[in-house]
C-alpha cells in the first residue's frame, strides 16, 4: 500500500511540474488559453499533493492527481482545438 501511495505522490509531483511548465510557457508565449488565475488552481493542487505526502493519506494524493490531470487535459484540449480558430497561416 505504501509503495502504491508513494507512486501516486511521485506521479502527482510530475504532473504538477508539467502543468506549471505548460502554464508558464503559455503565459510567456502570450497564448490566450489559461489566464494567470489558473496558476492558483495549480498551487492548490500542489498544496493538496504535499498534504498527501505529509499525511500519507491517499485521499489528498488522489485529489491532487485529479486536479492536475483535469487542468492538463483541459489545457491540451484547448490548445488542440483553440489553435485552429481564427488561424491564418
Amino acid at each position: 500500500m505504501k509503495i502504491k501511495l508513494s507512486h501516486i505522490n511521485m506521479f502527482n509531483t510530475l504532473l504538477a511540474l508539467f502543468l506549471l511548465l505548460l502554464l508558464n510557457v503559455q503565459i510567456l508565449t502570450n497564448l490566450p488559453i489559461f489566464s494567470f488565475g489558473y496558476l492558483f488552481i495549480s498551487l492548490l493542487g500542489i498544496i493538496v499533493s504535499l498534504l498527501g505526502i505529509n499525511k500519507e493519506d491517499s485521499f489528498y494524493s488522489y485529489l491532487g492527481v485529479s486536479l492536475h490531470s483535469i487542468l492538463i487535459i483541459s489545457c491540451l484540449v484547448m490548445v488542440l482545438f483553440g489553435i485552429r480558430i481564427n488561424y491564418h497561416p
Partner: protein, 359 residues
C-alpha cells in the same frame, strides 16, 4: 456466606461481642473489600479517561471530514471554469477550418462586406476570446479611400454559443441601433422615392473624398457596369436579388438592407478573394450568410435579411445583375456622373469626418 449472616456478624463486630477467630475472619473480609474498592476506583477513572479520548477522537474525525469536504468542494468549484471553457473551445474549434468558431468569424466579415459598402474587416487583427459558453470576437474595420486603407473603428460581438447577445461599436454614434440605418440605394422598379443628394456635394471642396452611392435606372449585368463606369473608383456593387423591387415603404428599407459585394479583391482570407466579382463567390457568400441567417441578421441593425429568398433568386438567375454602385470619388466625379442617363439617384455616404477618422 449469606447476606443476613454477614449483617449479623458485622453488628456483632461493631458491638465487640465476636470471638477472636470470627473477629479475624471479619477483618480479613473487610480488607478484601478495601482492595475491591481500590480496584473499582481505579477502573472507573480509566473509563472516564477513555470516554474523554473518544470524544477527542470523534471531534478530530469531524474536523478531518470537514477539511476534506471543504477541499473537495473548493477543488470542484475551481475546476468548473477550466472544464466549461474547454467544452466551449471544443464546441467552437471542432471541425477545424469549417468549425463553428471560424464560420462565425467568416460570417462577421462577410456580413460587413455584403451589407455595408466599402467597410471591411481587417483579417489580420481579428481577436477571439472564449469563455464558458461564450465567444467574443473583436474586429477592426477599415475603408478603402482610393488605394489607401483608412481605419474606421472597432466592433465587438459577444456570442452565446452561436447567438449574438451583445454588440458594441466604437465608431457608430448610437451603436447598433436602427437610427444608424442609412438608405443608400433604391431599385429602379421600386415605387419608393429616395431623395437625391447630388446638390449637397456642390458645397463641398473638390478634393474631399466622398462615398457616392448611385441607384441606376435599371439592373445591368456586371460586364456592362465595367464598361459604363470605367475610370471611376468603384468600391461596392448593390446586387439585384429579387426582393428589392418589392421594397416600397421606408419601413421596408429599415427592415431589409441592400445586399451587394466588394468590387475589388478584399483579402486572401475573405470570400471575395480570388476571381474578380465572381458569381460563385457571391453565391458562396450568400450561402454562408444563409447558413447562419439568425447570426448574420443579429450582426446588423436590420431585422430581416431575407437570405434564403435572395439566395434562391440569385441561383436561378445564373448571372449577377447590378442596380446600385458605390464609388469613392469627389464632387468633381458627381458632376460627371449626373450627366449619365444610367444614373437615377445619387446619395452621399459617410465620409471620413462622419466616421470619426482623423485626416
Amino acid at each position: 456466606m449469606e447476606k443476613e449472616e454477614l449483617k449479623e456478624l458485622l453488628q456483632k463486630y461493631y458491638n465487640g461481642t465476636l470471638d477472636k477467630e470470627e473477629e479475624q475472619r471479619i477483618e480479613e473480609l473487610l480488607e478484601s473489600f478495601d482492595a475491591y474498592n481500590e480496584f473499582l476506583n481505579e477502573t472507573m477513572g480509566e473509563e472516564e479517561i477513555r470516554e474523554v479520548d473518544e470524544t477527542k477522537l470523534i471531534k478530530k474525525a469531524q474536523q478531518r471530514f470537514f477539511f476534506r469536504n471543504t477541499l473537495l468542494v473548493i477543488s470542484f468549484i475551481l475546476v468548473i471554469v477550466p472544464l466549461l471553457t474547454m467544452f466551449s473551445v471544443v464546441y467552437y474549434g471542432i471541425g477545424g477550418e469549417n468549425g463553428k468558431g471560424n464560420e462565425i468569424i467568416q460570417t462577421i466579415a462577410t456580413v460587413s462586406e455584403m451589407t455595408t459598402p466599402n467597410v471591411y474587416v481587417d483579417y489580420d487583427t481579428i481577436r477571439d476570446e472564449i469563455y464558458p459558453f461564450t465567444m467574443t470576437v473583436t474586429v477592426d474595420k477599415y475603408q478603402m479611400v482610393y488605394d489607401e486603407k483608412r481605419y474606421v473603428g472597432q466592433d465587438r460581438y459577444k456570442m452565446f454559443l452561436t447567438d449574438v447577445f451583445a454588440k458594441e461599436s466604437d465608431y457608430k454614434f448610437n451603436g447598433y441601433s436602427i437610427d444608424n440605418i442609412e438608405t443608400r440605394f433604391v431599385h429602379p422598379k421600386s415605387t419608393y422615392s429616395l431623395p437625391d443628394e447630388r446638390r449637397k456635394a456642390q458645397s463641398l471642396p473638390n478634393d474631399w473624398p466622398l462615398e457616392i452611392n448611385i441607384s441606376l435606372d435599371k439592373a445591368y449585368p456586371l460586364k456592362e457596369i465595367h464598361e459604363k463606369f470605367k475610370g471611376y473608383n468603384i468600391t461596392w456593387l448593390a446586387l439585384e436579388t429579387g426582393v428589392e423591387e418589392k421594397m416600397k415603404q421606408e419601413q421596408d428599407f429599415i427592415r431589409t438592407p441592400a445586399i451587394g459585394f466588394p468590387y475589388k479583391k478584399v483579402s486572401p482570407h475573405s470570400v471575395f478573394d480570388r476571381d474578380f466579382n465572381n458569381y460563385g463567390e457571391v453565391v458562396k457568400g450568400l450561402e454562408l450568410l444563409n447558413k447562419y441567417e439568425k447570426l448574420a441578421t443579429n450582426l446588423t441593425e436590420y431585422k430581416d435579411l431575407k437570405l434564403s429568398e435572395r439566395l434562391n433568386w440569385v441561383k436561378k438567375q445564373k448571372e449577377l445583375k447590378i442596380y446600385g454602385i458605390s464609388i469613392m470619388g469627389t464632387a468633381k466625379d458627381i458632376s460627371s456622373l449626373q450627366k449619365m442617363k444610367e444614373v437615377k439617384v445619387i446619395r452621399l455616404g459617410l465620409n471620413d469626418a462622419q466616421w470619426g477618422v482623423d485626416e
